[in-house]
């Protein structure tokens, strides 16, 4: 053993390191496999969504507010908070037994970890939306027949924005003592443009207004998604430095 300064590289054999997208797919598959096994977060979010729908329903006075006016707001409040439940879990699974250390020591780009986590969160949020949306139609007797396809589009666009921001803040909050409080505190201000745009577009669709009226709100959603997916992926590695 010596204390040296210049050492030539050793010719190590090179395995084929996974690229950005392949590594992201591995992380997403792993996260989804864990959620599929445990199902705790998904069922928590789903039960929360259905209970919230029921509570809103019983608190609603149909003679004062029409279902068509109330439903968009109810829907997006529920999507926001049920999404936070899933995002909370995202980095929680890495904290137990310090699995995050093994993930960070692996020869993959940290952006890949972000993209993999974000994709798994997207599947989670979309899975909750897939049950909540028909349940909303049932509770509030809202006809979705003619608008379900654009409505699904809005839901998915908003889900991308929510998980893009939420995944980043979940990574930042997980190491703090107040993670459960910090994640909503950090995320919710950034969710405002998403929720506003999604709720406005949803309201117009449910009211049977021309699709052109919803388009400006969809453009906001698209712009938000584009900017925040890229910005959060770039910012993510810096949240991991101790």
């Amino acid at each position: 053993m010596s204390e040296t300064s210049t050492v030539p590289p050793i010719a190590f054999a090179k395995p084929e390191l996974p690229g950005l997208l392949r590594a992201a797919r591995l992380v997403a598959q792993k996260d989804l496999a864990i959620e599929f096994r445990t199902r705790t977060a998904y069922f928590s979010a789903l039960v929360f969504s259905l209970l919230a729908l029921a509570i809103f329903y019983f608190a609603w006075d149909p003679t004062a507010v029409a279902a068509i006016d109330l439903a968009p707001g109810v829907l997006w409040v529920i999507f926001t908070f049920s999404g936070l439940l899933g995002l909370q879990r995202s980095f929680g699974v890495e904290q137990a037994d310090r699995a995050m250390d093994a993930l960070l020591a692996a020869p993959v780009e940290r952006e890949a970890i972000y993209l993999g986590k974000a994709f798994a969160n997207f599947v989670f949020v979309a899975g909750v939306q897939a049950i909540t949306l028909p349940a909303l139609a049932l509770f509030y007797n809202v006809p979705l027949a003619g608008v379900w396809l654009p409505l699904v589009g809005i839901a998915l666009l908003a889900a991308i924005g929510i998980v893009a921001v939420g995944t980043l803040f979940s990574a930042m909050a997980v190491n703090t003592r107040l993670a459960e409080l910090l994640l909503p505190m950090l995320s919710l201000p950034f969710f405002v443009p998403i929720i506003t745009a999604a709720a406005q577009a949803t309201a117009r669709l449910l009211a049977g207004r021309p699709a052109a009226e919803a388009w400006p709100w969809l453009r906001i959603l698209l712009g938000f998604d584009l900017v925040f997916v890229v910005a959060c992926a770039i910012a993510f590695p810096y949240t991991l430095d101790e």
């Binding site: 204390e3 300064s5 395995p15 496999a33 093994a102 692996a106 020869p107």
Partner: protein, 241 residues
């Protein structure tokens, strides 16, 4: 060790937290087939040094290279691919089986046949018969064996071990000692952080004692007299209490 065969070289590594230097100017080089046993009292900076060498922490000053490739926190994939990390924390996913955990690691390291590699690693740690058991259903010792299988699945050229014997029973300890010896024979460099002088010196080709972020002793194992070394180490630990 000839400097040409150094697997890992650290130069004047410094890591400070809130202005306090936890690792304070450590330089070292570990060559192929060498094992550095690192001892030191709690809070000496051993684990922080290991995390710096694993690329989990960025140094405040100084540099570290694995196989000549700079290792930087968040960068240096080509360096990190040669590093394996064993810790007293299992770093496993409790909901996944032992096989799935090790296979996931194999895929993340880009191994061509991850299932075969995982099977080999689990067999090396004598835990192949529990491969399909969820990690949460395994005892602490078996979890540690799976964790070691995860760390060696890609046959790292630098294996960093932080108290790796924690929680292992006799069979697990024997399997680990064999696995570490095999890795050394295959040319891997080892760094073993432990409080157990006997375990450390048994495997070591070099030994070092760390205190307050610095190496206070650092010499070849052959130059170490186990009894006087133990006595000096005890004095150091006592002095820091």
């Amino acid at each position: 060790m000839s400097s040409e065969s150094a697997v890992v070289v650290a130069e004047a590594l410094v890591r400070a937290f809130d202005g306090r230097r936890v690792v304070d100017g450590v330089s070292l080089a570990i060559g192929e087939g060498e094992c550095l046993a690192l001892f030191g009292p709690n809070g000496a900076g051993k684990t922080t040094l290991l995390r710096l060498l694993a690329g989990l922490l960025a140094p405040t000053a100084g540099s570290c290279r694995v196989g000549g490739v700079p290792l930087r926190s968040g960068r240096g994939r080509e360096a990190r691919m040669h590093v394996g990390l064993i810790s007293h924390a299992s770093m496993l996913y409790a909901a996944l089986t032992a096989r799935e955990n090790v296979e996931f690691a194999a895929r993340m390291y880009g191994l061509p046949r991850p299932a075969d590699a995982a099977r080999r690693a689990l067999a090396a740690m004598r835990v192949a018969d529990r491969a399909d058991t969820p990690v949460r259903a395994l005892s602490r010792g078996l979890q540690q064996r799976v964790s070691i299988a995860r760390a060696i699945v890609h046959e790292p050229r630098l294996l960093l071990c932080d108290e790796p014997y924690t929680g292992l029973d006799e069979a697990g300890s024997a399997a680990l000692t064999t696995a570490l010896a095999e890795r050394r024979q295959q040319g891997a460099a080892l760094m073993l952080v432990t409080h157990n002088l006997g375990e450390g010196l048994a495997l070591a080709t070099h030994a070092a004692i760390m205190r307050r972020g610095r190496f206070v002793r650092h010499e070849p194992r052959m130059a170490v007299d186990a009894d006087s070394y133990a006595s000096e180490y005890r004095d150091l630990v006592t002095a820091d209490v």
